[in-house]
């Protein structure tokens, strides 16, 4: 029983970690509280639904397709919403406002097209028995893929583009003076963040279906992971996500499951109040405002 909860916690943690990773990437490189991540999650879910259930694409192709759609949405948000604000040095609150607006528009459009009921994606999901524990295929996918993605990102940050992104995250003006294309960095980071999110979306949509208002809650879990793990430290976000997922899952042992969000929020609040820089602390601390 406890082992089962542990596995569930790992899976949940991987989900939070990946969503949070994308959010944290944009927060770090683009210096933007990317509330629009909720829009990306929402649209990616519907893209997966359309590609696999309506068009009958095979699962891997459908996930890749939804990742591509997600990246496109992310790029659109950066181009239409964030970039104009950045160009005129808008106060931080404006980024929230346009993201809220975008969320409303996106949600309305999706609801108009698909209706308000949740849509479920039918992807073959066999369950395997491993030493007395039941584990589903999509759970295995999450636990395996998450560290792989982390590794891939670590490699990315060693490429030219990755180093450029780190430079922009550190100091955009200085990066620009040495010839780094900041705009490209902003777009690349938001597109990577959005594409990565397609994987947890796949899991969430096969388990709970997608609906027009699911985006914010999914995104919020990622936000929690990012703040617990520590902005500016990508591995930290990963650990933050795992910590949240495990504590939520293991808490079911003692607390009725409806209160899970309270447990996760409790962990978050502890970190925000007593260790705002997160588990791994930030080399970006005072840069926040």
């Amino acid at each position: 029983m406890l082992a089962q909860l542990f596995i569930n916690g790992l899976v949940l943690g991987s989900i939070y970690a990946l969503i949070g990773y994308g959010f944290g990437l944009v927060y770090w490189v683009n210096r933007t509280f990317h509330f629009g991540h909720a829009i990306v999650l929402m649209v990616a879910g519907y893209a997966l639904y359309v590609l696999s259930s309506l068009l009958g694409w095979p699962p891997l192709l459908a996930i890749a397709g939804s990742a591509a759609v997600a990246a496109g949405i992310g790029a659109t948000i950066e181009a239409l919403l964030y970039r104009p604000l950045r160009q005129r040095n808008a106060p931080r609150m404006m980024y929230f406002l346009v993201a809220f607006g975008g969320l409303s528009v996106g949600s309305g459009v999706l609801q108009y097209i698909f209706g308000a009921e949740a849509r479920f994606v039918q992807i073959a999901n066999p369950t395997y028995m491993v030493g007395g524990l039941a584990i589903a295929a999509n759970q295995i996918a999450m636990i395996v893929a998450a560290p792989l993605i982390l590794l891939a990102m670590w490699l990315f940050f060693r490429t030219r583009m990755g180093i450029a992104a780190r430079a922009v995250a550190d100091n955009p003006e200085r990066a620009r003076t040495v010839g780094v294309n900041c705009d490209a960095a902003y777009f690349i980071s938001i597109m990577i963040a959005s594409a990565i999110a397609a994987l947890p979306v796949y899991f969430l949509v096969t388990n709970r279906g997608t609906s027009p208002d699911a985006g914010i809650l999914f995104m919020f879990y990622g936000v929690m992971a990012a703040f617990v793990g520590g902005i500016g430290s990508m591995p930290g976000i990963f650990l933050g996500g795992l910590l949240l997922g495990l504590s939520e899952s293991l808490a079911i042992w003692k607390i009725p499951s409806g209160w899970q969000i309270a447990v996760a929020f409790g962990v978050l609040l502890l970190f925000i109040l007593f260790r705002p820089t997160g588990i791994f602390g930030a080399n970006t601390g005072s840069r926040r405002i």
Binding site: F100, G101, S104, S107, Q111, G258, I289
Partner: protein
Amino acid sequence: MSAYIATILVFVGIFAVLAWTYDLLLGAAGIFSVAHIAFYGIGAYCVALLMLEASFPFIPALLVGLILNGIIAAMLGYMTTRLVGDYLVVATLGLHYVVVDGILPNWQSLTGGFFGLFGIPQPGILGWQVRTPWEFAALTGIAAVLVGLLFFQLDRSRFGLALKAIRDDEISAAALGYPVAALKTAAFTISSSVVVVASAIYASFIGYIDPPTFDITLVILIIAMVVVGGSGTILGPLCGAIILVGLPDLIVFLSRSSTEAVGPLRQVFYGLALIGFALFRPSGIVPAKLPKWRITLADRN
């Protein structure tokens, strides 16, 4: 037929109160919280439970709810003082989910769980039984006027000016001796408790509340009203409420269109309005004016 117009007026009034109370936080004090709807919900459940289970009349239930919200907000006010900007958004967002997705649906013995509370009685105020939509519109109108006057006075008072000083430059305000933490907590408390006026009217007008009533998207609507209408005045958020709530309702009523397309189209409308104003006219339709004494000083030079 005309009852629908009355219903529109009631909702405009409810949302005006929500917008005014929110503007005190965001516009005057500069506190960007998204927990407003959580307090709206707590107030509604409080009033509804008192009226249903304890046979409280309307006004006493409203007052108790107001005090309860005030106490909770005062305790949580610590958050608004310790946390800045992004952290505050995250914390208040979490607060919203803990209340609306955690406490309200799961504390079934108190709140009726996912099924909510129904059969909330209509107000009886000193012998006046409020029954018809037009009577509710009258009640809402009176309440809105009172709340509007309250916030008008607050805005121009020394309290309001102190809040704006904190909003503009917290460190300087603290250096000048303003009790920043106390002032912010006070703003949070007043804002979150007066919300109960809106909660009470909604609860007894519709007669039914459940956790999904207090969805996070309502927060976006209220923020849109403040941004579109214009922060910092009384007329501004009222305009926002009229344009974003009254106008769509009126159009639906007049065109008698089918209701399926309405919900999503309204969301698109809110979203586009919010984006448009945020990008091109952040001050809103009714911009805040400089207080007279600042103009005089400029004239003198």
